[in-house]
Amino acid sequence: MSHWIIAPVVVPALVAAFIVLVARFDLHLQRTVSIAATIGLLAIAVGLFLLAEDGIPRPYLLGNWPAPFGIVLVLDRLSALMLLLAQILAVAVVLYAAAGWDRQGRHFHALFQFQLMGLNGAFLTGDVFNLFVFFEVLLIASYGLFLHGAGAARLVTGFKYVTVNLVASTLFLFAVGTIYAVTGTLNMADLAVKAGQVGPDQLGLLRTGVALLFVVFAVKAALVPLHLWLPGTYGVACAPVAALFAIMTKVGAYAILRVHHMVFGGEAAPAAGLAEPWLVPAAVLTLILGTLGLLAARSVQRLAAFSVIASMGTLLLVLAVPGPDAHAAALYYLLHSTLAAAALFLLADLLAERRGSVRDELVAAPAFPQLDLLAGGFLLAAIATTGLPPLSGFLGKVWILDVLRAHPVWPWLWAAILATSLLAVLAFARAGSLLFWKSTAVGATAEADPPPRARPALPLVATAVLVAAPVLLAASAGPIARNLEATAAQLHDRAAYVEAVLGPQRLARAGEE
């Protein structure tokens, strides 16, 4: 049993505790520790990713209690992938924030580390109630990060964000309670087994619990009409936080994959296929509303926020298609859309920082420093986000179009995806030409130039990392896709998962006593 499996949870927890305990008054030390820890976590995530490459799910029995009685973490390809994605994003975000955003409020780095802990915990856990706990960890950390720097808009929006999520959290408990009542277990592997043994009388209860759980994840994933909280939240969060939030919606998608497709999916499970009839129309609506929002956006950050919604629409559409093929495509799109959206959020902030009082609003304003550089970054991010070739957005979309053929109403889905792509192109073309072209026509900065502030390179580097991601994802699409196929295949190999978690370990414990 490799103790490294728990490291993505324990390390940030200890680092955050250390920051609160020791480094509270020393921002410099906080930064150093936080950055070092995040990079260390990335290394660990890479290690775990390589470890998971052998395709064997690795359970980690917390407290050395046998599954399903204790809590178990499971490292498989999917959790390793999500860990890796989260840490990559985290490194970019922490580098970006360390250039000054972390000064805007208190406890940025502690909250950031806790946020990572919550994310990593949610990805690793093999227990539904523990998933709830780590959802709460990542949510409350996200509340804290969201409110970082405060301000009226953020506080008012924060209240909404928290309220909606608290309603969702309540629902989570209702759902888990129902599932526990019927199955008597919380362990995911055990649930997969027990779900098949539920008698016909209680099947309705189980199905209700599972469906309600789906709604919880759909709130996180911003599925229409559960998405209303997102634009405001992502639109006013401070840039690095918004960038980090790019993965929060994906947690919802991950949970749907894990719980609805793995635990309760497949042939054996009576709860299979619950969500699909709802999911397709809702996902299409999500895609459409997200795209309309792109056209409606009045600032780059809102543009980025709506791009998250649109991308979730696409992603959830694929999740409506059962089977590993579709899910491999979904995972590719998930990787892409997370990093691309994060890049956009950071770009929005770089722009806001340079454009004076108009911030990142989509209005013409005088030219600003490093315009060409940001224009280039924006162009790449826009290409990626709208799904234009040759970046990962396009590849992801093509792959998705391909797998959607398995869906009965695929022509409509194709039409939706392609039409919204066009509108997205329109929206980004308008925004980009306004920001980078029209601005130059406004004339030179009339007002006296503010004293040339030193522009730290760190944010540019962090943004560049994210902007480069879609390029790299596209360039190495082949190997990545092979990995994702294996990941999706493993996700659907329920028997292997169950055996890995429940099988030999139970014997081992007995032998040890």
Binding site: G144, R207, A211, T291, A329, W437
Partner: protein, 965 residues
């Protein structure tokens, strides 16, 4: 390998110009030219093979899961186009070096140009259809960048966006079409697809495929009604217009139709759509071109017209027509690129390209004038120039084409188009170059440096040479390409000037004559045209886009209006919908016998329900609502006591108290009453939602409570293992600190984060508007004494007692109800009472604990306890316990779980205190700053503010003095 390199070279080379521009414009241009030349050389290396009839291929895996491979192939058609693109590209690079002014950022220009070049070459070399789409869209993108190159020009921005949207839309349609085509043909590789003509044409998806593919081709090649973007793309620098919008990019659509000719052409639909659209486009655009005063606009519409011509030829579906099409592509590329460049020279020299302000330029710039006239004549179809040859072939084909049930309509329309073509070509010649020299040019023009006219001269030389020696010069290439289009069926036609007096020649003559007449009557015809309705395509497009954007904004902002009530209502509605639809019929009452109803239970039930409903009814009075809510909390605690959950009862009780204090602290600064503002309809809706939710939950729980579940729960294990495995008899506590200690770790971290977040949020209170609001906050009349004596004294005795109880509960928890969490709350509440009695500053000054550190310590201890088990190579949080004999105390049980619980305890105390202390700090800040200075004034300033007081007890407390009254 080489093939891929031809396409990739320009992409790789695109980094050079921006880097080299620092070394000078010449170096920059030379590097760009070198890249192009190298690509051209690589292409020519393949020529022998291609001319031998081989198909050169190269393939690399990319994303096979989606059918995408980086596979290229080179046949005659591809070679033909690639040659055009690179060769003309070389000329454009040269021309642009001299065309661009010093102010224009040349590095960026050449970079974009090379990107475009690469994309274009990529299209024509792609074997994989998805790869083709990638390059296809890249041309849209790079063209977007090039059109918007002069970013200060609004026309440039609008033109660029329009081009991107129209061609981008076509690209998306093309993507869909090609995906379907690949599905039908069973392969993504063109080389394979082209062999599956029967399968494709026989498929029920043929028509969708055709429409989608043509949508791509027509938008790219500016076919009616998608033609409108091209003239507006003329805002680009002229080299761009010459290259993209005449010679290459717009030909991509033609290329595609040619490429897919074997699998798509030859059907009725193909003929009707392609030939019909081509003919219409040819005619309409030629008519419009006549009247364009802007030379580039004139050329742009003429380009549209010629693209229509080629489209029409391809639509005819015959081998000869295909040959003519290929030939005309070549011819048009040569004379139109030349013409654009001359227009650019005129613009460059005379500082205008308005035909109305020009004339007589032949005298001032003889070289340019001569070249322009030659190219124009070719465009008009005058022998012996190459335009004549292909136009003859076109007319020949048109003459025996039946359309609309008659064999007349088609030729007549074709001749009409040719007529217009003559008219605008001659207008370009006469209105710009002929006539007397004027003295009102914005700038007196003369011939440009050789670098600018030499490329034109080379093209015009080709125009003349091909015209005179068609077969030897262009024959092999054109034939090679045409055979590739027709998939081997050798087209029957010879490329030569003189075929005898054919009907086509007659038609040509008619067109020439009519065209000249038309031009002679230019003035009246302009007036006639101005009287006619002319749809303004750009305005319509802009209006449409604006409407879409406005509509989108209206919809989006109506939906995303950020109103919480809507968010919650929709969330709940969705939950209820899903819950009811899944649960309906599937959930029902089970057979499990229940507990008899106890009268007192009934009473508590009634009390809870009455209290809850009262809160709902009277929530406007907030204090009242809070008091009544406490009743509900109390009854919930009693429920836990009743049903064998002592730990829950304890937790609920203590949490309740802390929450109440917290809510009261907040309420102090909130309005004491809520206004009654929701409409009856809204309330009705909310009651309905609430009622459904309540009924749903009742039904769900009722079903659960009355059902007998066959599956044993995992907690039988917990009950069995609690004592032997976990060392405690309080199973709930053992679950919390051992079986599921990991949950608890997460839970205390949630608390810790909450406290940190609250601290951070409150910390910002002391800046900005909030301070002002706090200072001016009008309090209700207050009672006089802050610290009621009885409370103060009582709490001083209570504190040590409560601490003792806390310790007791802590140590008992493993075996009896209690534990670290409850103990922490008890201690926290005891401290809160101190704060309430004696005030924040007083109590804080006497608490030496740093609450932050307490939280950090708690999380650290709990986590470290978990990590400690690694030392014994046991998983995280593995517990251990043992019994030790201590004198006087007897058997003492020590468990690592207790250490973990200590972490829990510490965190809870820290959290409760940090939160409340900071809430109190807000209040302290809001105190009207009057009278004696208080401890609150010494709160450190915001920048460094912490809940820690740096200076404690600033008020000197004199020794207790006794005074008799």
């Amino acid at each position: 390998m080489n093939l891929a390199l031809i396409a990739l070279l320009p992409f790789l080379g695109a980094v050079l110009p921006p880097l080299l521009i620092r070394s000078g414009r010449n170096v920059c241009a030379l590097a760009t030219g070198a890249v192009t030349a190298l690509a051209l050389a690589l292409l020519l290396v393949q020529a022998p093979a291609v001319f031998r009839g081989e198909v050169v291929r190269a393939s690399f895996p990319w994303l096979p899961q989606a059918g995408l491979e980086a596979s290229f192939f080179l046949d005659g058609f591809g070679f033909f186009f690639a040659f055009l693109i690179l060769a003309i590209g070389l000329l454009i690079v040269t021309y642009a070096r001299f065309y661009l002014s010093r102010e224009d950022p040349m590095g960026r220009f050449y970079a974009f140009l090379l990107l475009f070049q690469g994309a274009m070459v990529g299209i024509v070399l792609s074997d994989n259809v998805l790869l083709l789409v990638i390059f296809w869209e890249l041309t849209s993108l790079s063209s977007f960048l090039l059109i918007g190159y002069w970013r200060h020009l609004p026309e440039g921005r609008q033109g660029a966006r329009m081009a991107l949207v129209v061609t981008g839309a076509g690209g998306l349609a093309l993507l869909a079409g090609l995906l379907l085509l690949a599905q039908v043909a069973g392969s993504y590789e063109l080389t394979t697809i082209l062999t599956r003509a029967e399968a494709v044409k026989g498929s029920e998806l043929y028509l969708p495929i055709l429409l989608l593919v043509l949508a791509g081709a027509f938008t790219k090649s500016a076919q009616f009604p998608f033609h409108f973007w091209l003239p507006h793309a003329m805002a680009a620098p002229t080299p761009v217009s010459a290259y993209l919008h005449s010679a290459t990019m717009v030909k991509a659509g033609l290329f595609l139709m040619g490429r897919l000719w074997p699998v798509l052409s030859g059907t009725e639909a193909w003929f009707l759509i392609v030939a019909g659209t081509g003919l219409l486009t040819m005619l309409i655009a030629a008519w419009i071109a006549i009247f364009k005063d802007d030379l580039k606009a004139l050329l742009a519409f003429s380009t549209v017209s010629h693209l229509g011509l080629v489209t029409m030829l391809l639509g005819l579906g015959t081998g000869t027509a295909a040959l003519a099409a290929v030939f005309h592509v070549l011819n048009h590329a040569s004379f139109k690129a030349a013409l654009f460049m001359t227009a650019g020279i005129v613009d460059h020299e005379a500082h205008t390209r308005d035909a109305r302000r020009l004339g007589g330029l032949l005298h001032l710039m003889p070289i340019t004038g001569t070249l322009a006239i030659l190219a124009s004549l070719s465009m008009a179809g005058i022998p012996p120039l190459n335009g004549f040859l292909s136009k003859e072939l076109m007319l020949e084909e048109a003459l025996h084409t039946e359309w609309g049930g008659t064999g007349r309509l088609f030729p007549i329309l074709a001749v009409l188009a040719a007529t217009c073509s003559v008219a605008y070509s001659f207008r370009y010649v006469t209105h710009v170059f002929l006539g007397p020299v004027r003295d009102d040019y914005p700038h007196r023009p003369h011939d440009p440096p050789a670098g600018m006219w030499l490329p034109v001269a080379l093209l015009v030389a080709a125009v003349v040479l091909i015209g005179i020696l068609a077969e030897p010069v262009a024959g092999p290439l054109v034939r090679l390409a045409a055979e590739a289009v027709t998939a081997g069926a050798a087209p029957e036609a010879t490329l030569k000037l003189w075929h005898g007096v054919t009907p086509a020649l007659v038609a040509s003559g008619v067109a020439l004559f009519a065209g000249l007449v038309l031009l002679a009557a230019f003035g009246p015809i302009v007036r006639l045209r101005e009287a006619l309705w002319r749809p303004e395509a750009k305005r319509m497009f802009e209006a449409t886009v604006e409407a879409v954007a406005t509509g989108a904004r209206a919809v989006s902002e109506a939906i995303h209006d950020e109103r919480l009530q809507r968010m919650v209502a929709w969330t709940l509605a969705a939950i209820l919908a899903v819950g009811l639809v899944t649960g309906w019929g599937g959930i029902g009452t089970g057979e499990r016998p229940g507990l008899p109803v106890a009268p007192l239970g009934l009473l508590l039930w009634a009390g809870a329900i009455a209290a809850a409903l009262a809160v709902a009814l009277f929530h406007h009075q907030r204090l009242l609502a809070l008091i009544v809510t406490s009743v509900v909390g109390l009854i919930v605690s009693l429920t836990f006591v009743w049903f064998s959950a002592p730990d829950l009862a304890l937790t609920q009780l203590s949490v309740e108290i802390v929450t109440t204090v917290l809510l009261l602290l907040a309420l102090n600064y909130l309005p004491r009453e809520s206004p009654r503002e929701s409409t009856p309809a809204r309330r009705g809706r909310d009651v309905a939602i609430a009622a459904v939710a309540g009924l749903g939950v009742t039904g769900l729980l009722w079903a659960i409570l009355t059902s007998d579940f066959a599956i044993p729960t995992i907690s039988t294990y917990h009950l069995a293992e609690s004592k032997p495995g976990g060392g405690g008899t309080n199973v709930v506590n053992v679950i919390l600190v051992d079986f599921r200690g990991y949950d608890t770790l997460g839970e205390i971290i949630v608390l810790g984060i909450a406290a940190l977040a609250i601290f951070a949020v409150l910390d910002s209170t002391f800046r900005g508007t909030a301070v002002q609001r706090l200072r001016t906050w009008s309090h209700e009349p207050e009672a006089a004494d802050r610290h009621p004596m009885m409370l103060v004294v009582a709490t001083r005795i209570m504190l040590p007692l409560a601490l003792m109880v806390g310790i007791y509960i802590f140590f008992r928890g493993h075996n009896q109800p209690g534990g670290g969490f409850i103990a922490g709350l008890v201690v926290g509440v005891a401290l809160i009472v101190q704060y309430m009695a004696s005030g924040w500053a007083w109590a804080r000054a006497r608490t030496r604990i740093d609450y932050h550190a307490l939280i950090g310590f708690g999380v650290f201890v709990a986590t470290a306890t978990g990590v400690g088990s690694w030392l014994f190579d046991r998983p995280f949080l593995t517990s251990n316990y043992g019994y030790f004999h201590v004198p006087l105390l007897g058997e003492v049980e020590l468990a690592t779980a207790m250490l973990f619980d200590l972490g829990v305890f510490s965190t809870v105390v820290g959290v409760v205190m940090l939160v409340l202390a900071n809430m109190a700090r807000v209040a302290a800040r809001a105190e009207p700053q009057t009278g004696v200075p208080t401890a609150m004034d010494s709160v450190p300033e915001p920048r460094l503010a912490d809940e820690r007081i740096t200076t404690t007890a600033p008020v000197p407390v004199p020794e207790r003095t006794r005074q008799e009254a």
